[in-house]
């Protein structure tokens, strides 16, 4: 009996090749999308779980109140770990101080590479999960030691033993390799921890840290910890809350520093803080794509059910005959379920093939490295369970509804199945298009927002700007470098500054000015620059003047951006005095706001003054009259003169600037990808349905043609119904899309408004797609030979 069912099911698939392909293909695409999204979400949710102490690892962070807003930071004073260890040691297994993770020059013999790594207290090897390939876990006990990740070790030593080799760090100190650990996987926050050196080494050549007058006064390191086995995160977090407050100066207390623990489980997905509250982060994307995934799946299932039920109506006669010759109802039910489950399982197999094909492409646009979980039983259970479920749902209508009729009724066609069943089908098609149109509008709004932020006035000229990290040597010889490069025409101008054009490396508080509320704690990005800064980046002086070498007193001068002038509420800012501690500075100029940090947020009040010692970055304006290649090689040659043992690295400011849009661009690309698939699936469904309707009305079309109907009239008759459905879908989708996208835009302080043309565009697009899809079928039907179609009855 079962074989008989399969045979008939299989033959039905083959007989209706076209609609079977649409049916199976559409469902497979939907399943593939859901699989991709599912794998991506799984990857996001399992982030950092590589570390066995995942549940216990935390980062020590602090909230501070600046300019009346609570800011949250990972930066801590260097004494944080030690202090917590001393005062709350029993609540923690480890509390470890660490530096930032950034590129250092590592060299071995004649090989030099920049690799990212951190200084860490030695127990880091116990806290994190490091699978040792060479050496032992206690490799950081000696001060002049270094532990390498596998890939770094391979760069320097190939497959050879690395233990005991002496390397040079930052061209300064010798360090001995004491361990090699397996690379941390991509799905970990500390993935770029490619080498670890002892914290004591850091202290040893930054002796000023130990000699700091107020060790709690600056925040420039990170602190990680592992909770004690029985400690509870929330309890410990509130216990240590005032650890900094109790140590800081009177001035420091105004910032209301509040120390707290941010668990590893939230590092990746919930890293955003808004005014002191953990407001999410990537978790928003997980939700967004989760919802899109559910919708795409819904679309595919709607299709599948629509087409399956539409096709099953053609089989009403079969049901009647089978009953007449003795089939029991249960046998018919089984037969239909069998068939739809077979089809959905075929779709599942096909979807796996699709995922294998799409995955590399998906990984590129989603910037992820997900893989299919071949070995994960949950994946299979979910996949197969889901296929069977879809099959059952799709089979319900034919199985239960058709089989319930008196045989004579279906045989005589006394029940006009089409008419009643068409209503749910219409609802399904409408909701399908409503979803697609919502996605189209959403995608356009995402792109519009990115566009809007990209076109935001920068306040400086980013083209041709490059940044190069300073070194002691190059800092000392900046004048020589500048003269040479200007002389050979490689650059227009260059400057040295605290922060590159796309980030803020330093902020300072403690400023005072005329009319300031004495209790208002402030904190401003504070940039030390050379006199040529403004000329290099092309800032726009609004009031007063730029720094100049002609004025000897400029070392005590400040330039403010417009936001700072507004924030300080200075009526006539130029010439006013700015005080910090017991020193006074004069405001000599106001510049137009420059977009340095988030393109979606207001520009922060910022200050500029002339530099007094080595700062972090050179910024060079390349000569537009010379090709980039030529000027870059000249720049490199000059820098190599001074940095003989460090690789030359320069960053283009416009590239760095584009990275600010990475996340939104990714969302946009993914949304576009899913929207495309959603439209594709909807079209498949529409196409299938249109062909079904055309087929169902073959006889009618034949008779009408015999009686003289034109192709145009028939096309109109067959397409009209669908167009009406799509128009209704537009009416439903527009308000929903507006509501959702308006909510999304609220995330951005600097945001576009949703233009009316977007929905017009989406609706016209949907209508065009519908007309093309439906016309293909209806014109085919309308043009067919009437005799042929009449004969089929």
């Amino acid at each position: 009996m079962l074989r008989n069912y399969f045979k008939i099911a299989w033959r039905n698939i083959l007989v209706n090749k076209g609609s079977s392909a649409i049916n199976i293909g559409g469902l497979a695409v939907g399943m593939a999308v859901v699989m991709l999204i599912g794998l991506w979400i799984y990857n996001e949710l399992s982030f950092n779980k590589y570390h066995q102490n995942y549940d216990k690892i935390v980062q020590v962070m602090q909230h501070q109140t600046y300019n009346d807003v609570v800011g949250t930071q990972v930066a801590n004073p260097a004494v944080m770990a030690e202090t917590i260890r001393n005062e709350y040691g029993s609540d923690f297994k480890y509390v470890l101080q660490a530096s930032w993770n950034y590129d250092h020059a590592l060299s071995y013999k004649d090989k030099v590479f920049f690799k990212p790594g951190s200084y860490f207290e030695p127990e880091v090897t116990e806290m994190l999960t490091l699978n040792m390939l060479q050496g032992s876990r206690d490799g950081l006990k000696e001060m002049n030691s270094i532990m390498l990740s596998q890939s770094v070790a391979e760069v320097f030593f190939g497959k050879e033993n690395a233990i005991g080799e002496i390397m040079k760090l930052d061209d300064k100190v010798d360090v001995k390799v004491t361990g090699v650990y397996e690379d941390l996987p991509d799905a970990t926050t500390l993935q770029s921890l490619e080498f670890i050196v002892p914290w004591d080494l850091y202290l040893s050549y930054n002796s000023w840290i130990k000699d700091m007058e107020d060790p709690w006064g600056s925040n420039f390191t990170q602190t990680f910890a592992q909770l004690g086995d029985n400690s509870i995160l929330e309890t410990v977090s509130s216990k240590i809350k005032d650890v900094k407050l109790s140590k800081v100066t009177e001035e420091g207390r105004r910032y209301k520093p509040e120390v707290f623990l941010h668990p590893m489980s939230k590092w990746h997905l919930q890293s955003n803080f808004e005014n002191g509250i953990n407001t999410g982060g990537r978790i928003d994307n997980v939700w967004l794509f989760g919802i899109i995934g559910v919708f795409v799946l819904l679309l595919a299932c709607i299709n599948f059910m629509n087409l399956s039920t539409a096709r099953s109506e053609k089989r009403a006669k079969e049901v009647g005959i089978r009953k007449a010759v003795g089939s029991r109802r249960i046998q018919l039910i089984m037969q239909f379920f069998n068939e739809s489950i077979l089809i959905s399982c075929l779709a599942f197999i096909l979807s796996i093939l699709l995922v294998i094909i799409i995955l590399p492409f998906f990984n590129t646009i989603a910037d992820s490295k997900i893989t299919i979980l071949w070995a994960n039983p949950i994946f299979w259970v979910l996949g197969i369970g889901f296929s069977v479920l879809t099959g059952i749902i799709a089979g319900v209508y034919p199985a239960l509804y058709l089989s319930s009729f008196k045989p004579v009724k279906v045989l005589k066609g006394a029940i006009r199945i089409g008419r009643y069943a068409a209503i749910p089908r219409k609802i399904l098609v409408t909701s399908q298009f409503a979803i697609s149109i919502t996605l189209i509008i959403g995608t356009i709004v995402v792109y519009q927002q990115i566009q809007y932020a990209q076109n935001r006035p920068l306040g400086y000229e980013k083209n041709g700007l490059i940044s190069i990290n300073t070194t002691e040597e190059t800092h000392k010889h900046i004048e020589a470098i500048r003269t040479t490069l200007k002389g050979n025409g490689a650059i227009v101008e260059m400057t040295e500054t605290t922060s590159p054009m796309t980030a803020v490396y330093n902020t300072n508080g403690g400023f005072d000015w005329e009319g300031k509320d004495p209790n208002l704690p402030v904190d401003f990005p504070n940039n030390a620059v050379t006199e040529e800064y403004g000329k290099t980046i092309g800032w726009k002086i609004k009031k007063g003047r730029d720094f100049s070498r002609d004025f000897g007193a400029d070392s005590l001068a400040y330039i403010l951006n417009e936001s700072a002038a507004t924030f300080m509420n200075l009526k006539d800012p130029v010439g006013k005095i700015l005080r910090r501690g017991d020193r006074s500075f004069t405001i000599i100029g106001i510049v137009e706001d420059m977009l340095i940090q988030s393109p979606y947020k207001p520009v922060r009040p910022s200050l500029f003054h002339l530099l007094r010692r080595q700062e972090n970055t050179f910024i060079l304006k390349l000569n537009p009259a010379m090709s980039v290649n030529e000027s870059m090689s000249k720049v490199e040659a000059v820098f190599k003169n001074y940095n003989t043992s460090i690789p030359f690295v320069a960053n283009f400011v416009d590239e760095e600037f584009d990275k600010k849009f990475g996340n939104e661009k990714k969302i946009g690309q993914l949304a576009a990808f899913f929207t495309f698939l959603a439209i594709f699936i909807s079209c498949l469904g529409l196409f299938g349905l249109a062909s079904y309707v055309a087929e169902q009305r073959t006889k009618e079309i034949g008779i009408r043609k015999v009686l003289g109907a034109t192709v145009i009239k028939l096309w109109n008759m067959l397409s009209k119904d669908f167009l009406i459905l799509v128009i209704i879908a537009c009416a439903i989708a527009i308000p929903i899309a507006y509501y959702i996208m308006d909510g999304w835009l609220q995330k951005f302080d600097y945001r576009t408004s949703i233009s009316w043309w977007i929905s017009i565009f989406a609706c016209i697009g949907a209508l065009l797609i519908t007309i093309v899809t439906v016309s293909f079928q209806s014109i085919k039907a309308a043009r067919s030979n009437p005799i042929k179609s009449l004969k089929t009855e």
Partner: protein
């Protein structure tokens, strides 16, 4: 074998009610061959559908093999049907997706006959109907007469005790028609009870008894033996 009394059937459409069967009563004994005749629309097909338990009646009594079946549910009817009744429809009603062989085999599958035996039985009846050479064809590939013969083959393959045939020769030329009638007579001789609807006086002569109907009622009943 069959006893119907005051059988009624109405068709209700929006405006009017059609009385398809109007207090129809008659009896059929085991082994009889009955012809039902009457003008188009007098209720012959309706009667056959009710006798074949494909449709409900709206009143009266229907005793089949001594059992009152008028209130039987779907399951019981299906059970009686598959073991006792073979059906030849006015409009063939073959399943398009199945071959000739498979169409004829269907009733045997539902009564649980073993595969080898099914094959033999189907082949026998196809031989008898002279469409053996067409067994792998699909219904659309056959002429009307050939389809009719497949429909008859399917009705008789299970050796049913009761054969209900709605104009079994309607689409056949006279020689093919006669063959179908010979076949029915032979089945009748082997013990099957046959109720056949026909417009042909010639075919009616094969029967034992003719029931003539008009407007859902029996008008006359004349025995030919």
């Amino acid at each position: 074998m069959i006893k119907i009394k005051d059988l009624e059937k109405y068709y209700k459409t929006e405006e009017l009610q059609t009385i398809a069967l109007n207090k129809l009563s008659f009896e059929v004994k085991q082994g009889e061959f009955i012809a039902v005749m009457g003008p188009s629309g007098c209720g012959k097909s309706t009667l056959l559908n009710i006798l074949g338990m494909l449709d409900d009646s709206d009143g009266g009594s229907f005793i089949f093999n001594g059992e009152e079946v008028i209130n039987y549910n779907e399951r019981k009817r299906a059970n009686i049907r598959k073991h006792n009744i073979g059906f030849v429809f006015q409009s063939f009603n073959l399943i398009d997706q199945l071959t000739v062989f498979e169409n004829v085999e269907l009733p045997l599958i539902y009564t649980g006959v073993k595969k080898a035996e099914r094959k033999k039985k189907v082949h026998d009846v196809l031989e008898k109907m002279q469409i053996m050479h067409r067994r792998k064809h699909f219904p659309q590939q056959l002429s009307g007469g050939q389809q009719q013969r497949v429909a008859v083959a399917r009705a008789v393959v299970n050796d049913p005790k009761l054969i209900l045939a709605d104009e079994p020769t309607g689409n056949l030329d006279s020689s093919n028609g006669n063959e179908v009638m010979e076949l029915l007579t032979e089945l009748n001789n082997q013990g099957a009870t046959i109720i056949m609807v026909t417009h042909s006086e010639h075919d009616a002569k094969y029967s034992h008894r003719i029931i003539r109907m008009l407007d859902g009622q029996k008008v006359t009943e004349n025995s030919l033996i």
